[in-house]
Symmetry: C2
């Protein structure tokens, strides 16, 4: 593999450049011909399909159904919830003309679907029998990014799902918020092998228009936090202006309670950052589009045929067991070139089969996370492959969890807080609960409150900055 094809910088030395190189060189995404936007390429898309299938299956199991709402939203709808409007308006792409005709009401290219959906919901919901309404939309949303963009992490358009549910009571909406947060956590920890911290956002950082926002936060290798997914209780903040009312069993009319929640292709960016190494991407087996790549090794034309026969047999055995196997039969590349390419693309397991392996009735496996070279008996290939992939999935999670734990520190001192921040990571401390104090900390240190844990605990006797009586334990970090 020539130098410009491989990754040319080290993760520890130039994290940002390393990330960008992986994204493009592994074929996950490409810069589009329009600034701030990206193209999700086939390899990246197939990871997104695995994420999508997981969420889709889990939320359907919990009674949710998919629907599709328009991509354009009249400005008058967006204006109905004042905070929501002022939060989104700076980044909205506005449609002003259809063909040559100017429009009387400007149309926003969907930045999120609350308002267009709730306009319909207000007509659909009449009685307690119509509740809960549990819908989800797979689409893309557009928010003009003025800050530095980064593929998957911050782009002017992204693929995501947005759930929008309606309930009779606050308690039911509370339960829905936590149910979804649990599904997201399962996706992140069990599928993507990324450990997360869970909690709620402060009022300053909650979703515009929400009663409260819950969040899952992960830590990237450069010490910055990344918001991985959020689930909001919207209270009655939208049901009142949109008139989403139901006649209850008590025969009185009530405003409904609502939730919304979303997870996006950003998760792919997180997986790249957390697991990748100097050789490229490292994909957790459960989300890898190709879990095993099989590479034939032969030196003479005589060896060619038996090697291919053996490799076809082994890969079809593994395929039957449900593993995603790819045989790299390209003649124009050497095995070494192929090793490098598939390592860059993060395929969890490589199987090499050469004449010596056939002779010894064995196969040679190489793990992408540890580069361990393992010879196993041919007859045990299915069983051992399964074990190794499971072990790799666990190892990636444990490694990331070790890092998260090592980089989560506690202090009561503002000076130490500032010093700690220079090394990155989460800082657990106490906060007075005042939004002004929170904003000051952000101004002075660049760190904000990533979350307030759900379980209250007593930690220190004063706010880390102002010294007042603490209201909350909070996790601070600098973030993407």
């Amino acid at each position: 593999m020539s130098k410009d094809i491989g990754i040319t910088v080290k993760k520890a030395e130039n994290f940002s450049e390393w990330y960008t190189q992986i994204v493009t060189k592994a074929g996950l995404a490409d810069y589009a011909g329009i600034k701030g936007f990206m193209v999700l390429m086939p390899y990246g898309y197939s990871i997104w399909e695995r994420i999508r299938e997981f969420i889709d299956r889990r939320i359907k199991k919990e009674g949710h159904k998919n629907a599709y709402f328009p991509a354009l939203i009249p400005e008058s709808f967006l204006r109905k919830e004042a905070e929501h409007f002022s939060g989104f308006v700076p980044e909205v792409f506005w449609v002003t003309h259809a063909g040559d005709e100017p429009l009387s009401d400007r149309l926003a290219v969907r930045p999120t679907s609350e308002t267009i959906a709730y306009d319909s919901y207000s007509r659909w919901i009449k009685s307690w029998r119509d509740l809960p309404l549990l819908l989800n939309f797979w689409n893309s949303v557009l928010r003009a990014e003025i800050k530095m963009t980064k593929p998957f992490i911050r782009t002017s358009e992204y693929l995501w799902q947005e759930g929008h549910t309606v309930h009779a009571t606050k308690e039911e909406a509370d339960r829905e918020v936590m149910l979804i947060l649990g599904i997201y956590r399962e996706l992140m920890e069990d599928m993507l092998a990324i450990p997360v911290l869970a909690g709620r956002k402060t009022d300053r950082d909650k979703f515009v228009g929400a009663l409260y926002t819950t969040t899952l936060e992960a830590l990237m290798p450069d010490g910055k936090a990344l918001q991985m997914g959020t689930s909001h209780n919207l209270g009655q903040n939208f049901s009142i202006p949109f008139g989403i009312k139901y006649v209850g069993k008590d025969e009185n009319e009530h405003y409904a309670w609502q939730t919304s929640w979303g997870a996006s292709w950003r998760l792919i960016g997180a997986a790249i950052m957390v697991h990748g190494d100097d050789k490229g991407l490292v994909l957790p087996p459960k989300v890898a589009p190709i879990q095993i790549v099989a590479i034939p090794i032969y030196y003479t034309e005589d060896e060619r045929k038996p090697v291919y026969e053996e490799i076809e047999e082994v890969s079809s055995l593994l395929g039957q067991e449900g593993f995603a196997v790819h045989v790299d039969d390209r003649e124009q590349y050497t095995p070494g070139w192929k090793f490098n390419e598939w390592e860059m693309k993060g395929v969890p397991l490589r199987i090499e089969i050469g004449p010596r392996d056939i002779e010894k009735k064995q196969v040679t496996l190489v793990r992408r996370d540890t580069f361990d070279r393992i010879q196993i008996a041919r007859e045990r290939v299915v069983e051992e492959t399964g074990k190794i992939l499971d072990e790799m999935q666990r190892n990636l999670f444990q490694r990331a969890k070790g890092f998260l734990e090592a980089k989560t520190n506690t202090t009561a001192s503002y000076d130490e807080f500032k010093r700690m921040l220079e090394d990155g990571g989460f800082i657990k401390t106490c906060w007075c609960g005042d939004t002004g104090c929170e904003a000051q900390i952000k101004d002075e240190t660049g760190a904000d409150i990533r979350l307030i844990p759900f379980e209250r605990e007593k930690l220190f006797s004063k706010c880390v900055r102002c010294g007042k009586e603490p209201q909350e334990v909070a996790y601070f970090a600098r973030a993407y």
Copy 2:
């Protein structure tokens, strides 16, 4: 079921109103809060999921991969292919501002992705080794509809897939065009039970920018044709302005050959029109989200428990065999009310189980297409259900095929042509090949050429209108 819940007009008497009632009352789609747009509701979405799964599986099997391109396209890209631009510009939604900032290059909300994709393709393709490039995008496209809109059939935004492939030679592109047309045909005829005619469009109706367009056309019960899906050979019309070139095995640079093709949620509209009846929707079993609805029948509290036990057992048996079964256990509705509702929603098969059925070790089945009431032995329920659903799938197709054949007439006389048009349907005749003559026929009769069959044949000795020597056999119809 009260009158305003059921369909209040007859299909034969007011087809347009009948169609609109089914769309909304069966819960397939709803009008959105923005004119010309619709909301795809959960029941409609789940039909779309079945269509999507079919196409996705079939095109992946043929080596295609999914990707995602931006929803906004710079005007300068659209302008690169002149015909393409002038064809789309009257219906483009234009983004002129991001937040408060005016944009220097206006952005089109994606009316189709040729130009944004080919800008990227020109950077990706260097050598014959990069070909063929076989990509597909699942997204929505927006085209401001000034004509009368109709849910699924003509809306300002619709969900679809668009395939965009690149090949080394015209012959390969030709083969791709036909491969896809075959997959679409399989979807329409085998899944949706809608017979189609295949052929190519005249130059007047081909896709703007294409070398030629192939099409599948169906006939709706009101006698109007509906274009069901198209597959285009773009020739080098885009590869030249976009600079999509490859170095061939001959070491020379060549412009590539391209195809694009798409099918949309319009197919759901076609299925509603073709199969529905005065009671509502009739869904072909292969695309029905619920294939079988099981309804408990009991009169006393004592009967309730055994009926439910039996119904759970039967439905779980059917579920295990892969049938999509739903048990309607709602207590607040009578069986009669439920029958009407599920008939309106077009569920192919109803299973009724009451005390008498249990006693006789039988179940009662009712087919949605014929309303045949069939008693079958309980032990044969899986086998018989499969047979009946297959038979219904075939019956729907045969019924529609009979209609299509009855409504496809042949004439050499322009007077007869005009009389025939009043009864609707396709008219097979001869055409001189002149675009002006074609336009005149459209002006004079409202009919246009839906397709030119792939196989040439000698039919009559002169053009139906001008009497000149015929170049082509053509199928004319009035159309949606």
